[in-house]
């Protein structure tokens, strides 16, 4: 998983990240106001705010990580310094949880959760249980049918 380098002027991390979060082409002289041709995108502030936790990244979420994908803590991982959000995710995943459950229980935006889970996976703190076959096989469906029939 590679993330765009936010310092790479030629390929800004994300076009809609507000300008002062990344160094622009003329950043050598320090901060400069934007040319007036580009009005500050006020409406984007509300959209982006949750992603402050991810340092502004909104893409780069691992496509393997779906909403129902199960996540557990990797007990063999070396302790490391983590953000409060990441610590909360690791603490929650002592029991298997889906990404959607993590998002709901910690009140984290779903997109943010996916990125943080991806980061924690890359750091070796979490095991993300990606399914081998994406399409469910008949045997699994039969088990779901039997399980559903059993409830009253």
């Amino acid at each position: 998983m590679t993330y765009p380098d936010p310092d790479d002027a030629a390929h800004p991390a994300r076009p809609s990240v507000r300008p002062f979060l990344q160094s622009g082409p003329s950043s050598a002289g320090g901060y400069r106001p934007l040319p007036s041709s580009e009005p500050p995108a006020e409406d984007q502030a509300t959209t982006l705010r949750p992603f402050v936790i991810t340092s502004g990244r909104t893409d780069g979420a691992d496509p393997d990580i779906g909403m129902e994908t199960q996540v557990t803590v990797n007990h063999a991982a070396m302790p490391m310094r983590l953000s409060p959000e990441m610590r909360a995710i690791v603490a929650l995943c002592g029991e298997p949880h889906s990404v959607a459950e993590i998002s709901a229980r910690l009140r984290l935006h779903l997109g943010v959760t996916r990125i943080l889970v991806g980061d924690l996976r890359a750091a070796g703190q979490l095991d993300v249980h990606v399914l081998d076959n994406e399409t469910p096989d008949p045997e699994t469906i039969m088990r779901v049918i039997r399980g559903l029939r059993a409830i009253t």
Binding site: D43, T46, T47, P50, T58, G66, M67, E68, T69, Q70, V71, T72, V73, H75, E95, P96, S98, A100, E101, S103, A104, R105, H109, L110, G111, T113, D127, H129, L131, E134, T135, P136, D137, P138, T140, I141, M142, R143, V144, I145, G147, L148, R149, I151, T152
Partner: protein
């Protein structure tokens, strides 16, 4: 559901040994439909936990909301998605995701239907056209789906044949009525979805 929590099975021993519990295999069913047709009620009726809500980003203008009572108030840029869980057994968990059925939410459906067993499209006969985008999308995506007319007020303005005609769904797409408030009714509707899913999985295997 209580039977999966029988205390002397491996729930207890997993902790004593300090071993991480094996993660269950997740499967999911989508519940789609317009605002206020009873998606959350449907999810809540079948889920073993009270439905959880997760927020996803909405990039386009948000005009509609999931509450017909305050239709003019909301201007947020996130949409809420309710979901529930049903533990089939220690190794298998069913997730039920409720998702808005309008086409402006289609950006999140690609993610949602990946690996999904099938979908239940919830219809309110007073506003049948609300579910057109969802039906269109599932047809094109090849996801097995069932049209479920929610009879939560105990009456239907149209019979099922008329609903089928209005939606112009293929002959092999089941159109049924159910009551989102009752667990058994939701269960039966989901069983029809699973039947469709099973048919598709068996066809896929034999080819």
């Amino acid at each position: 559901m209580d039977f999966e929590q029988s205390p002397d099975h491996f729930v207890g021993t997993a902790r004593v040994g300090g071993k991480p519990k094996k993660a269950p295999v997740p499967v999911k069913i989508i519940v789609a439909g317009g605002f206020g047709v009873g998606k959350t009620t449907t999810v809540g009726a079948i889920s073993e936990i009270s439905p959880l809500t997760t927020e996803a980003e909405m990039t386009s203008e948000s005009v509609g909301i999931d509450d017909p009572g305050q239709a003019t108030m909301k201007t947020t840029t996130t949409i809420a998605m309710d979901f529930g869980v049903l533990t089939i057994d220690q190794t298998l968990k069913l997730y039920i995701f409720g998702t808005p059925g309008q086409s402006r939410f289609a950006f999140m459906w690609d993610d949602l239907i990946k690996g999904a067993l099938g979908a239940l499209v919830v219809v309110d006969t007073a506003r049948i056209d609300d579910c057109y985008p969802a039906v269109d999308y599932f047809e094109r995506a090849g996801l097995p789906f069932v049209v479920g007319v929610n009879t939560f007020n105990g009456q239907m303005n149209y019979n099922l044949e008329e609903v089928r005609w209005a939606l112009a769904v293929r002959e092999d797409v089941p159109v049924l009525s159910f009551d989102a408030r009752f667990r058994a009714s939701v269960r039966d509707a989901l069983l029809v979805v699973l039947d469709q899913a099973l048919d598709k999985a068996i066809r896929a295997r034999s080819t």
